[in-house]
């Protein structure tokens, strides 16, 4: 929390101004009962009209002044809180951008989004509220007690006795209710969990006829939620009536002793009235206490979640990424040739015992194509992600052009790499923008060439707005194969020295894939091709066969057929297909028809 609040430091002038103005407003309010005692004792009782006019006028003027002050404080408080939120969001987003891949495995995307928006909004509201209302409560309470003492020491003492009592009680109740609410919140999470599960598995539940079972399960968690919510709310609702009762008892005492003192001359009517008025103000302020405490505990949970992101240890950040943020990637063709070497590389994710890769060694000369084959979870994706330095090897070294990847400037290294990830990621915007996304200075000619090589140029030309067609929510929806080819074009437009295709042709039909592979051969770049299909490993210079993180075989198609039983089995399962393949016929027309699906 303290760390989060340090973001307020930059806006301390505005924050302090807001607080000072609030003190001023408060003074205007707290002086009211005092002035009313003056009106009664010095105006009404001695029948002094001018005194009433005087103090009445002062009251009216102070009302106006405090209103103006309040309007001003709104500017200061909201400047401070909005600026605070802006800085916090900015800092957090930049931090997130500097995360390495492994951190992303820890923070799910959805939680990062809520932390960046929902949680920061909660904190911002808390700051705004603190600067204007929350700090009022303790100030009104202490101010009222002090003013009561100023008006009449003896009568004021009743407040001095009761208020701490009430405060202690309120403190314990709030602690108890927070605990209860946390429990209720957990119950709510349980209920929502069951709902989520049921919605996801609804078809399965239906076909296995488990509706009754699930409804029963839901009723169980939902009734637990009900019980705990009732318990928590019951506690909250008990607090206020009890506090009221206690302070009202003090009012009764003030009335009793006030009357005695008035007759003995130790107090005046106005003084008694003022002390009663101060007591009532204390109750007013305290009744807001529980909601403020609830808001505060909510915001401290948010602060913790935001803090978790900002506190992520620096060794989990990509080396140099933080510094690289400040400068642009150098323009111009990169000097990297594309020679790649893995030297006895092992890798495991931070905090995990299991080695994803074990003792991998191989070399790729510039221009060679390396196919990587293996089951899901055999470490293929982790292996290629070591090349742009998205992960760092736990042991051994990865070398590009003979230099350790970790010693290279990440942005100039990555400039030389075209990476097509397994899951297709496109951004909203035009097709052209998406292809040029990786290279802002690309000319239309270069974009077209990349698209042609990725076998998507013709499809794009057929679209109503060609390269300016919009994608996503407001644009068209491409088929999986078209999206894959588009993301390949995005990698190709960078004219990379190293091209990484992580199972990026899975949704392409054989003919298109063959054409794509042929086009790739014409480009002089080192290509790493993760694939499931024997048809695309055949033409590779070398095939790496991975199983559970180990390189169990490596060599050309023919060599592996001879030496690796697993490779032979994979071939056999696909081979029958390949062997009775005539010249392929086209089914691409059907895929293109997906384009018509407009949102």
């Amino acid at each position: 929390m303290a760390f989060i609040l340090s973001f307020l430091n930059k806006y301390r002038t505005a924050a302090v101004s807001a607080l000072v103005i609030m003190l001023f407003e408060l003074t205007a309010e707290l002086i009211q009962p005092y002035l009313i005692s003056k009106i009664i004792d010095e105006g009404i009782r001695p029948q002094q009209l001018s005194v009433v006019w005087l103090w009445g006028g002062v009251l009216a003027a102070s009302a106006l002044l405090s209103f103006i002050a309040g309007v001003l404080s709104s500017f200061f408080a909201s400047h401070a809180s909005q600026g605070f939120a802006y800085d916090l969001r900015d800092r957090m987003y930049s931090k997130v951008q500097s995360f390495s891949y492994s951190v992303f495995d820890r923070f799910a995307e959805s939680t990062l989004i809520t932390r960046l928006t929902g949680d920061i909004t909660v904190l911002q509201d808390m700051v705004f509220m603190s600067l204007r209302f929350a700090t009022r409560v303790p100030l009104v309470v202490t101010g009222s007690v002090i003013m009561a003492l100023v008006v009449n020491v003896k009568l004021g003492l009743f407040l001095v006795v009761t208020v701490p009592l009430v405060l202690v009680f309120a403190f314990f109740m709030i602690r108890a209710t927070t605990r209860q609410f946390r429990r209720a919140q957990r119950r709510l999470d349980e209920v929502n969990g069951v709902i989520q599960e049921n919605l996801t598995g609804i078809r399965l539940i239906r076909v296995f006829v488990r509706m009754g079972h699930e409804v029963e399960r839901f009723a169980k968690v939902a009734s637990r939620l009900m019980a705990d919510t009732v318990a928590a709310l019951r506690l909250t609702e008990t607090t206020t009536p009890f506090i009221l009762l206690t302070i009202n008892a003090a009012v009764l005492a003030v009335l009793w002793y006030g009357r005695l003192d008035i007759s003995s001359g130790a107090a005046t009517v106005g003084e008694t009235v003022a002390v009663i008025n101060y007591s009532l103000r204390v109750t007013g302020a305290l009744s807001a206490l529980s909601s403020i405490m609830a808001a505060y505990s909510r915001s401290s949970a948010s602060a913790q979640r935001v803090g978790e992101v900002l506190d992520t240890a620096s060794d989990e950040l990509v080396s140099g990424a933080e510094e690289a943020l400040g400068k642009r990637a150098p323009a111009g063709p990169s000097a990297i040739q594309g020679r790649l070497e893995f030297r006895d590389v092992s890798f495991r994710y931070a905090g995990s015992e299991v080695k994803v890769l074990e003792h991998i060694s191989f070399t790729a000369e510039p221009g060679q194509t390396i196919a990587i084959l293996g089951a899901t979870g055999s470490g293929k994706s982790s292996l290629v992600q070591l090349i742009p330095g998205l992960h760092r090897p736990s042991e051994g070294s990865v070398l590009v052009d003979g230099q350790e990847v970790s010693s290279l400037d990440p942005s100039s290294l990555r400039r030389a790499i075209g990476y097509v990830p397994q899951e297709v990621i496109l951004f909203s915007g035009s097709i052209r923008g998406n292809i040029a996304w990786g290279r802002e200075d690309a000319s239309l000619e270069q974009i077209r060439q990349a698209a042609a090589r990725a076998q998507i140029h013709e499809t794009i030309e057929k679209l109503p707005q060609g390269y300016d067609t919009l994608l996503g929510q407001r644009g068209i929806n491409l088929s999986g194969g078209q999206k894959q080819r588009l993301s390949i074009a995005r990698a190709l437009v960078r004219e990379p020295a190293i091209l990484i295709l992580d199972d990026s042709t899975s949704a392409l039909d054989m003919r298109t894939e063959a054409a794509l592979l042929k086009a790739l051969e014409e480009i002089a770049c080192t290509t790493l091709l993760i694939t499931q299909k024997i048809s695309s490993t055949r033409s590779a210079d070398r095939i790496l066969l991975l199983d559970e993180g180990r390189l169990i075989a490596s060599g050309s198609h023919e060599e592996l057929l001879a030496s690796s039983p697993l490779y032979r089995r994979i071939c056999e399962s696909q081979n029958q297909l390949a062997s009775d393949m005539p010249a392929s016929s086209s089914a691409d027309g059907e895929e293109a028809s997906h384009v018509q699906n407009l949102y």
């Binding site: 400047h79 709310l233 990786g438 089995r569 029958q576």
Partner: protein, 623 residues
């Protein structure tokens, strides 16, 4: 120093679409892009009536609550009034009669006030939470009666939000706002009457602040309306941007484009800061306005009241009563304004909940429908036609026969109707015309639940519940013993990997089955299907999200599962269905070819072109 001091006043006022600003309220905004706008209730008397039906189940208690609200409102008025009397009669007047009794009476008023307001809240909470529980329960159990296409048409998040946010909204409103609204009205009316009774002149003067308040509020809300809309728009844009760039994070990093996305983020962040600043500042005037007017009415009561007191037309006690009351009546006004909005949004939420409850449930079983005890597995479709209500996605004239224990493959492009065909068989829909029979019986004469209990499904994305592996397998047959569960796992080739996991069969799986691989999930789904021992088996793209190498490992389990059962297999990798007894080739809702792999290849028709042309290019079925 000075510059930082005036900084708050130099924020640019956001420029927004003139139409939005001029149009004022809802109409213009509706055309905007606001994604999760809080809709105003469309027909709120209907929604209120429905909520009342829920509340009415606890009518007696509710009446008691209302009674308590009346009492506590009256007592809250009585307190200040009695203090005024005490000042006039005992403090000022020096009257000494019955002072002790008077104080005891006042004490009793205070006690009863605390007691009644406590009771009203406690009871209301119980009623509210019971109501919410029942709404939740009704909604949830209704979900399980809705036809499956309902879920296809809607985003899961949207349904989820009705079950969670909307219900929570109703919950918190019923807890407090409902009572507060009612007591605000009572207190307002009561205060006004007592004030008029005590001094009409002073009442009138106090009420000078009301038109001021209305004017001020109008000035403020006119500005905040469009500002909040603008802020909401900016927030939506920021959220969208974060969502997009974070889900594309791998690409951002690999392409070294961090700086570019941070630049884009800053622009949106600034926009939201500026609109947020003005929205917050101006709406922040509201409490200050209320406070200022409170203070003003205080000054009026004290000043003018003082003059009136000197003239002798009112007493000091009346002034004190007025001071307290004047504070009390702006508060309910403020509350009314606040609660009104939450009430509206809660009603809108309730409306969305009722919308789901009102969705038509899966049609009831025909009255003559019977359960079936044993099924051999002969299936036949005779001239089956089917059309969805809204779109042209159809099946027409489907006829085929399946003998018990045969393996049938369904093949065809996306949208050809493969999944629909299965949904007809499992009676998620009924055919528009034609008859489907199981062992010679029209399936409409079989109870749905009974029919489905003889079927088992292995779907593309086999869903696993949060729970142990054992529980997840047992989902196939709830009364299965541990031995039977393990036996099923053995047959499915899952036993080996389960025992190697830390915790074995008792390993807890997260929602969605995190912690084990896709292939292992499928093995568990197969074990689950084996355990349920169905006569009919449906494998809907069961291996399509698995790579070919993993598939090799799963095939064996699948073969054992299919043994001796009639099975329907939808697959886009045609090499996996070569051994099917019969392949049904669907295209645009028609059964165009039918026969074994060899027969169809020899025929050289659509199947053979699919087989040679694109064996695995097909998109996954969405249904």
């Amino acid at each position: 120093m000075f510059r930082t001091f005036i900084e708050p006043f130099r924020h640019p006022y956001p420029k927004f679409d003139q139409t939005v600003q001029a149009g004022g309220t809802e109409g213009a905004g509706a055309a905007g892009t606001g994604r999760r706008r809080k809709a105003k209730p469309k027909n709120w008397s209907a929604a209120l009536g429905r909520i009342w039906l829920y509340l009415a189940k606890r009518r007696l208690k509710l009446m008691l609550v209302l009674l308590m609200v009346v009492f506590s409102s009256a007592l809250s008025l009585l307190g200040p009034y009695l203090i005024g009397r005490a000042i006039d009669r005992y403090l000022e007047g020096g009257n000494d009669g019955q002072w002790v009794q008077f104080l005891l009476g006042l004490g009793l008023v205070y006690l009863l006030y605390s007691l009644t307001s406590w009771l009203q809240n406690i009871w209301m909470i119980e009623i509210a939470q019971e109501t919410v529980f029942r709404m939740r329960y009704d909604l949830f159990s209704h979900l399980h009666r809705l036809p499956i296409p309902f879920f296809g048409k809607r985003q899961q998040g949207e349904i989820m939000s009705r079950l969670t946010n909307d219900v929570d909204n109703v919950s918190s409103t019923l807890n407090s706002s409902a009572i507060q609204l009612f007591s605000s009205v009572l207190i307002l009316a009561g205060t006004l009457s007592v004030m008029l009774f005590l001094s009409p002149l002073l009442t009138l003067l106090t009420f000078i602040v009301v038109p001021l308040m209305l004017l001020g509020m109008r000035w403020i809300t006119r500005r905040t309306g469009p500002l909040y809309k603008e802020r909401q728009r900016n927030l939506g844009e920021l959220n969208g941007y974060i969502e997009e760039t974070l889900s594309g994070q791998r690409i951002v990093k690999a392409f070294s484009q961090e700086e570019k996305v941070i630049r884009g983020f800053r622009e949106r962040n600034e926009a939201i800061r500026d609109s947020g600043f003005w929205a917050q500042t101006i709406s922040g005037f509201i409490p200050k306005l209320m406070n200022g007017l409170n203070n003003l009415s205080f000054a009026i009561v004290a000043g003018i009241g003082g003059i009136l007191a000197i003239r002798g037309s009112i007493t000091v006690g009346v002034i004190i009563v007025f001071v307290e009351y004047a504070r009390q009546f702006t508060r309910p006004l403020n509350d009314l304004a606040n609660q009104w909005n939450t009430l509206l949004s809660a009603i809108a939420g309730a409306e969305r909940v009722f919308e789901v409850i009102d969705e038509e449930a899966e049609s009831k079983d025909e009255s003559a429908a019977q359960p079936v005890a044993e099924v051999k597995g002969a299936v036949s479709f005779a001239n089956v036609d089917f059309a969805y209500e809204e779109d042209g996605d159809t099946l027409s004239d489907i006829t085929f026969d399946v003998k018990p224990g045969e393996m049938i493959a369904l093949v065809g492009p996306t949208g050809a109707g493969k999944t629909t065909l299965i949904q007809l068989l499992s009676r998620f829909y009924d055919p528009t015309s034609g008859v489907i029979t199981l062992d010679g019986r029209d399936i409409r004469s079989i109870k749905r639940e009974s029919l489905r209990s003889h079927m088992a499904f292995v779907l593309q994305d086999s869903f696993l519940f949060q729970g142990t592996i054992r529980e997840n397998i047992r989902f196939g047959r709830l009364d299965a013993t541990d031995e039977e569960v393990e036996e099923a796992a053995r047959l499915a080739n899952a036993h080996g990997f389960i025992t190697r996991l830390p915790g074995g069969y008792d390993k807890m799986l997260d929602v969605g089955g995190g912690g084990i691989s896709q292939g292992q999930k499928q093995l568990l789904a197969i074990a689950r299907a084996i355990l349920s021992n169905p006569a009919l088996l449906v494998l809907d793209e069961a291996t399509s999200s698995i790579d070919t190498v993993t598939e090799l490992k799963i095939q064996e389990g699948l073969q054992r599962l299919m043994q001796g059962r009639t099975s329907f297999v939808i697959a886009h990798r045609l090499n996996t269905i070569r051994q099917a007894d019969s392949i049904l080739v669907l295209k645009e809702g028609r059964l165009i070819e039918q026969g074994s792999h060899e027969v169809l290849l020899a025929k050289g028709g659509f199947y053979s072109s699919l087989y040679y042309g694109r064996t695995d290019a097909e998109e996954q079925d969405q249904q």
